[in-house]
Symmetry: C2
Subunit: 197 residues, 2 copies
């Protein structure tokens, strides 16, 4: 064979990673196959030897992105609960996350498009998100707290990105940090950092 064994698998991984970044930044439907492939250093013709259709890429990409986010979230489990919550809050509800969707969570970037996608896409999304929710619920000590935390964090980044002024973005982020910290750990929790611009 003209290509090494394992080449295709590595290239597929690269396609997933690169097109995930572009999709989170510019939207999945709004970005053409040719553009996605150009970002990975190839052409649209090559794409179809890796995925049967653009929609199949979307499913694989969702799985890849949510798994990566979950790994990030599941890290640092040794600390106590309050410190872990404060740390995750400062990481997720940051201006850096608002400014760099390509490096961030898929929920604020792609959830609206997933909601408009066929059931097979949404099933992949649900399976992956439920796994994240399960881990969160275990740490927080409650299923409901996990859903609430996920919803508010994703919603905060979603709205902050749509805002025009950085001062307003910071006000929203800091408000959500304070609200969630108090609701999840009680008034005595160590206060979250102020967002640094």
């Amino acid at each position: 064979m003209r290509y090494k064994a394992g080449y295709k698998e590595g290239k597929r991984r690269e396609l997933l990673s690169v097109s995930g970044k572009v999709a989170k930044r510019d939207g999945f439907a709004a970005t053409g196959v040719d553009t996605l492939m150009k970002a990975a250093g190839a052409t649209s013709g090559a794409f179809y030897s890796h995925f049967p259709s653009k929609s199949d890429l979307f499913k694989a990409l969702i799985q890849n992105e949510l798994t990566a986010s979950r790994t990030l979230l599941a890290g640092a489990p040794e600390e106590n609960l309050r410190d872990w919550i404060a740390g995750e809050m400062n990481r997720y509800l940051s201006l850096g996350h608002v400014r760099h969707p390509e490096l961030g969570c898929a929920l604020p970037s792609l959830a609206a498009e997933i909601g408009r996608s066929p059931p097979d896409v949404r099933r992949v999304f649900e399976a992956e998100l439920l796994e994240t929710q399960r881990i969160l619920a275990e740490r927080l000590g409650g299923d409901g707290k996990a859903w609430a935390l996920l919803s508010q964090m994703a919603g905060a980044i979603l709205i902050a990105r749509a805002l025009s002024e950085e001062t307003t973005q910071v006000a929203l982020l800091d408000a959500c940090k304070a609200f969630l910290t108090e609701a999840l750990t009680g008034k005595n929790g160590s206060p979250p950092e102020r967002t640094i611009g």
Copy 2:
């Protein structure tokens, strides 16, 4: 003149209303001008006598949608705070809202697209949202509570729509209702209704 005075203004309002619905359901960028106009009983040629460009329609549509949502939210101010919060929660965090984006709030449907739009679009969004946040903050007695409530409610509908199973959607909605009710009114608030499918 062959058309009545005031006709154009009325038609413009109809265009805003109809294209708002379609955009919230199918996405704004994903829907062509011709499709938007067909939904309003006209053709793409006529569109450009009402709006200079599709992007200008987006700005007008955002203004129209957020103003309508704010009017809905600002209603029923006579009750006490806890009843009002419970009522708004049951209205916004409902399966009907999940299932019918065309009739619902623009935030879960369009915020991601607004975030990818040029500054002039985001400025319109920010001005309108700040007015809603101001009213909410007054009622809740705190700027931060308003941002947190907006973020979690929008995030909850955003994520619920991307889920596949109705039981999971209901679990998420009920969790957010309970979480927000407790965080905003304390444990003694009357419990929110369970979501009815």
